[in-house]
């Protein structure tokens, strides 16, 4: 692939990203304003209900809520492009400031959870495929089916009951114990329960996918040839089958990032974990428009970026769909003869 083509290729992708973000921001902006509720409540709290119409008009004017929605959007977009996303009505400070304080927690929970899921699913899937229909495979499959049938919130409550209430070995909520902020040991203790829930919630889906994909490959003809040439089971499994499964797995995992992040939002609420999940919930409920916008843009951006990453990974790994190969001459094969 020539250099010029690469620029063109990635340029087109970047343009697509920017366009989708613009459309997303407008839609979210508009829908948020269509939804019922009073934005002033989040700014003035209970006071908002006792305001006189004049006071109310003044407050709305101050927050820029009187203009038509489209004008409001233009105003917002102008600011956003310059990096000014406005202030949070509830926290009365810059939106980015609010998010900065919380996003790290979510990234730790979701990120470590994602890595754990990625590795464990691969391990369990290979294990199952290796011992197909034998004891380990059957056991893992049964455990997986049962666990994935239990709703996350219920499992969280049960785990809190067992480990935090009866055994008292793990904390039930928060990111740190009061007064021990910044200690790594304390942080890990607080992570154990939510992490367990995040992982068990998603792990099985991907583990089974790996298992079935590998088994599909194992039945392919080329595995027979590999066997016939004398390769060992280990080499066939890792060198041939897994290699063909990885593109699909990587791209599904890339798409799964927003999915797993979404899962942490619920868990954050259950464990009162100070992440952006709780924040988004609050901002949507209390119409903290500016905060809501940025949070939506972040999640939306993650979704779009992950999908693009999935596509790129696929193209890089599978030689048949690698970009820039269209004009390469291949031997003419049958086209429906």
């Amino acid at each position: 692939m020539s250099g010029k083509k690469i620029y063109f290729y990635y340029g087109r992708k970047a343009l697509g990203f920017i366009l989708s973000m613009a459309v997303l921001s407008f839609v979210v902006f508009y829908i948020a304003r269509l939804a019922p509720g009073d934005a002033l409540v989040s700014y003035y709290g209970e006071r908002a209900e006792k305001m006189t119409p004049a006071e109310r008009a003044f407050a709305e004017e101050r927050l820029g809520l009187r203009a038509p929605v489209f004008v409001q959007y233009i105003r917002w977009a102008k600011g956003a492009i310059q990096g000014d996303f406005g202030i949070s009505y509830k926290y009365k400070m810059d939106v980015m400031e609010v998010i900065r304080g919380r996003i790290g927690n979510t990234l730790i929970l979701g990120g470590i959870g994602f890595i754990l899921i990625f590795v464990l699913a691969l391990f369990l899937g290979i294990l199952c495929a290796w011992y197909e229909d034998r004891f380990p495979d059957r056991m893992i499959c049964k455990i997986g089916i049962v666990t994935s049938c239990i709703p996350e919130f219920w499992l969280s409550l049960v785990l809190i009951l067992i480990f935090a209430v009866y055994l008292r070995i793990l904390p039930s909520s928060g990111a740190y114990t009061a007064g021990r902020e910044g200690e790594i040991g304390d942080r890990i203790l607080h992570l154990v329960l939510p992490m367990a829930i995040v992982v068990t919630g998603h792990l099985w889906y991907y583990a089974f996918m790996i298992r079935n994909k590998i088994l599909e490959e194992v039945r392919a003809d080329y595995v027979l040839l590999a066997k016939a040439k004398g390769l060992s089971k280990c080499k066939i499994m890792f060198g041939q089958c897994l290699r063909n499964v990885m593109p699909a797995y990587l791209s599904i995992m890339a798409i799964s990032i927003p999915h797993i992040m979404g899962g942490t939002y619920i868990i954050e609420t259950v464990f009162s974990y100070p992440g952006i999940g709780t924040l988004s919930y609050e901002s949507a409920r209390f119409k903290d428009y500016n905060l809501l916008m940025v949070l939506c843009m972040i999640s939306g951006g993650v979704v779009i970026l992950c999908n693009m990453a999935a596509q790129t990974i696929n193209e890089q790994i599978d030689p048949r769909i690698r970009p820039g190969r269209e004009n390469e001459t291949s031997e003419v094969e049958g086209f429906g003869g």
Partner: protein, 674 residues
Amino acid sequence: MSTIEELLEIRNLSVSFDTPAGEVKAVRSASFSLKKGEILAIVGESGCGKSVLCKSIMKLLPGNARIKEGRILANGTDVTRYRERDMRKLRGNFFSMIFQDPMTTLNPTIPVGEQIAEAVAVHYKGQKRGKGQGKNLPMKKEDIYRRVIELMELVGIKQPKERYELYPYHFSGGMRQRLVMAIALAGEPQILFADEPTTALDVTIQTQILDLLCEIQRKLGMAAILVSHDLGVVARAADRVAVMYAGKIVEIGRAEEIFYDPRHPYTWGLMRSLPIFARPDEELYTIPGMPPNLLKMPRGDAFACRNEFALAIDYKEEPPMFQISDTHYAATWLLDMRSPKVESPLTGLGTFAPNGYRQIYIRKSLSEQRTAGKEGENGDKVILDVQHLTHQFKLGKKTVIPAVNDISFQIRKGEVFGLVGESGCGKSTVARCVMNIYRPAGGKILYQGINICDKEQVKANRRLLEASRQLIFQDAASSLNQRMKVSRIIEEPMRIHHIKTPRGSYHKEAEFQMKYVGMDASYLSKYPPELSGGMRQRVAIARALSMEPELLVADEPIASLDVSIQAQIINLFKHLQKEHGFTFLFIAHDLSVVRYLCDRVGVMYQGRLVEEAKTEDLFKTPVHPYTKALLSAIPIPDPRLEKDRKSPDFDEIKWPEKGEMVEVGPMHFVLKNA
């Protein structure tokens, strides 16, 4: 211990599959031996256990298969109870295997050179261990690379260094089969199993691959086991032949003995059902009935109920192997001293001329009879007139592949027009243009005087066009909706067109069509997966017939069927044509079928029609070099003839880009290169 000459000896080998429905006896006490440098062919219909036999020797079968009894001796050592680890040392080094479909046997995501290198590396390791040297030094990278290049050259891949890094999708089917062969040969095996190595390939490449296989086998002094259902292929390559039926070897002997003096009724049946043996004025022979269910084996001889020479004892006891000569054995009660003498039905079938054309019957062919009788009746009513048809496929923005290039031909009423050529030559594209599936890029197609390339005219005559042209596909399994009952499948076109049925109801009509194609009406309530391949094709034909079409376009309708079932379907086509005067556009790559069925034949090559003539003329006096090469590429089931025949060289034939059709004889046109 047997003699050293005997590389492989199989004694009473029985292999069974454990399935939820019960035990499937795929191989039943098979015994044979293989000498050094010998090619043994195993023939039989699909499902007779030939592949299973090979795979069970290499222990490549899935987990639910097990060797029930018998012994496998490799070089005199019993390997029957070898564990996976020990088998691995034998695989690739002692025996190796190539498979039917080269499109799926190579890993699509690994460069081909690396795939061969893997096999080379494994072999080298195994050798070291075998010699008992403590040091397990890995082979040097350069050495492996050199060996891979050597192997690629051995199997006839030009410019191996440039092609080392390419992926399998860059290669055509024939080239891929060569690569698979290179992988199989990496460990210098003593025995090569070839499981239908040419079946998935074009006729034009088939002989090349087969000759390469024989050449390498001779050069390296290997022994080979060739599994095939094509008796022509077997005749070309095999020293000895084993015929399998229902998991049993029913006859085994030297190739000459099997081909010239077969003794088992099943071998007779196999030979007789070949279209190449048939006289054009009579029906093709078909073996009656179906192969037995391997789950519930009948008592006695498994072939008894399909055997026209069956004796009473056949239904009670299985026949033992009778010895006919030192090398020739057959399992049939007919060879018992007490049984009546039966003359082989094959005697008197005549011999082949070197071009594969049976000489005795040239004088009296069906098409000549027909043209003599019918010319007056139908006049020369042209049903389909294709004029300068051109079609292209676009790949990407700039690349254009000319699929069909300036083709003209006419089909008259009641005529069977055959279109032959290798895959990718544009035959199917022509069919699809005729069926209005593709819009041709240039040229005209007149169907009964209606220009079907013209949208207005098509709109005005939609009813007529849609009902009176019907298409039959190659793969009946995928051209029938799996979730629809057979009755609905057949009735659907009638319902769509609200046809007034002559027999009252749609259902009655469907019943009639089923009987017409030779199936029982009770099959109407079944689903396609419950039917066999031949039955499914019959249903597809019944569906086409329910519209009472005038023109039937059959796109390789028998290519995916077994030999004996092929014969049944060909007979059905012949019957339809003879009794009802359907007009056919018959697309095929099997020339013996075309010769048997068609009145006129067009030969296509690289999107051009290179020759068009009456079937007789084309087979007797082919003019274009491509036609000549194509005709001589058909393997003939006659070992003496076939072994000495040179395979045609297709590389020398020029791409017919420009040129005009020139008449060289009555109704005989050839493309002359400009």
